[in-house]
């Protein structure tokens, strides 16, 4: 752009931030990277909500727990896993590592006042919950059928007792998604960016333009 004039105030979904910070080992990295590259190129302001950061920390705890689980040898017994889950060392390990990762991310973001803005003492009207309920009551999601899969080796296996191979689940936009959108609007953002295709279902019924990265 050549000037420091802010062109757009963009709200990023949690998946964009965490994927970018995790790097190329995350499936969505390249799509997330485009958002940040564009912010630099076109001098966008990325609006960071406390709600998004809260979710990001929880996501990192999940990612690191999953990493630890995957690093275990195959054939680990339930008794061994319960002993590990109950261990204070294991808990401390995950807590420290995820907090360190989160702090590193915040350290970098807070140093870049040109591209990141953080909310402070924003007053949220209870109407945002009312709006979310109104939106959700006017929508209905989809049903998906998933095959049973081992979390460890990722092989598909039927139930060893009843031989059922799959389950049916209801998938839809949910309360946290709608709250993100309402927060983005409250913060005066001009665009909402996400990698979650589910947001496509509400893009026509909310005020803020939603970009779902393909």
């Amino acid at each position: 752009m050549g000037t420091n004039q802010i062109t757009e105030k963009v709200y990023i979904d949690t998946n964009i931030l965490v994927s970018y910070a995790l790097g190329p080992n995350d499936d969505g990295y390249l799509k997330a990277k485009n958002v940040f590259d564009q912010a630099v190129k076109e001098n966008h302001t990325i609006m960071v909500s406390n709600f998004m950061l809260t979710e990001a920390l929880n996501t990192l705890r999940n990612v690191i727990t999953e990493d630890k689980y995957q690093s275990l040898a195959h054939g680990v017994t339930q008794t061994a896993l319960i002993a590990m889950a109950d261990s204070e060392d294991f808990k401390k390990d995950i807590a420290d590592e995820s907090m360190k990762s989160f702090s590193d991310v915040i350290d970098l973001m807070t140093r870049d006042s040109q591209h990141f803005k953080f909310e402070e003492n924003t007053k949220y009207d209870g109407v945002i919950f009312q709006n979310s309920l109104a939106l959700l009551s006017g929508l209905f999601g989809i049903f998906r059928v998933y095959r049973f899969r081992c979390d460890k080796c990722e092989q598909y296996n039927p139930c060893s007792t009843c031989r059922t191979t799959s389950s049916i689940v209801y998938k839809a936009i949910n309360a946290p998604d709608l709250l993100h959108v309402q927060i983005a609007q409250t913060l005066g953002c001009t665009k909402f960016v996400t990698m979650d295709k589910g947001f496509g279902t509400i893009s026509k019924v909310v005020q803020i333009p939603i970009t779902v990265l393909q």
Partner: protein
């Protein structure tokens, strides 16, 4: 040469120090107004001196509004850093957005799909 630079740096306050001072000063004013409001104006309000209450609230609002956008955004960054125990003396770095890419160090090369993971979290999908 680098030693000389270090000495000079230590004599000149970093840009963040000035902002930090401004933030602390504004907080001091805010605290003072809150104290006046709590100790004097609010108790007087019950004797139908509502206009004084309103005026004090107006002063408080003006002080907050008079803070520049830069100071307010610095304040929010400072609050977040304090919450996480990060240093409150830091320099602005417009390249940090690029350094954020892949900044999380992991002991594994396992592929993740964070979008799916967050979707499952939001769907309360779990055991």
């Amino acid at each position: 040469m680098s030693t000389l630079n270090c000495k000079l740096d230590s004599l000149v306050p970093a840009p963040s120090s000035f902002l930090e001072t401004m933030v602390n000063f504004s907080r001091l004013i805010g605290d003072l107004i809150n104290a006046v409001y709590a100790k004097i104006t609010k108790p007087l309000g019950q004797f139908s001196l509502g206009s004084i209450v309103t005026q004090t609230e107006e002063i408080q609002r003006c002080v907050l509004n008079s803070l520049s956008f830069g100071t307010v955004t610095f304040n929010s960054r400072l609050s977040l850093r304090t919450l996480l125990g990060l240093s409150t003396s830091f320099e602005d770095n417009p390249k940090a957005i690029e350094q954020l890419s892949g900044s999380i160090k992991r002991g594994t090369k396992r592929k993740t799909n964070v979008t799916r993971l967050i979707r499952n979290m939001r769907d309360y999908d779990g055991y």
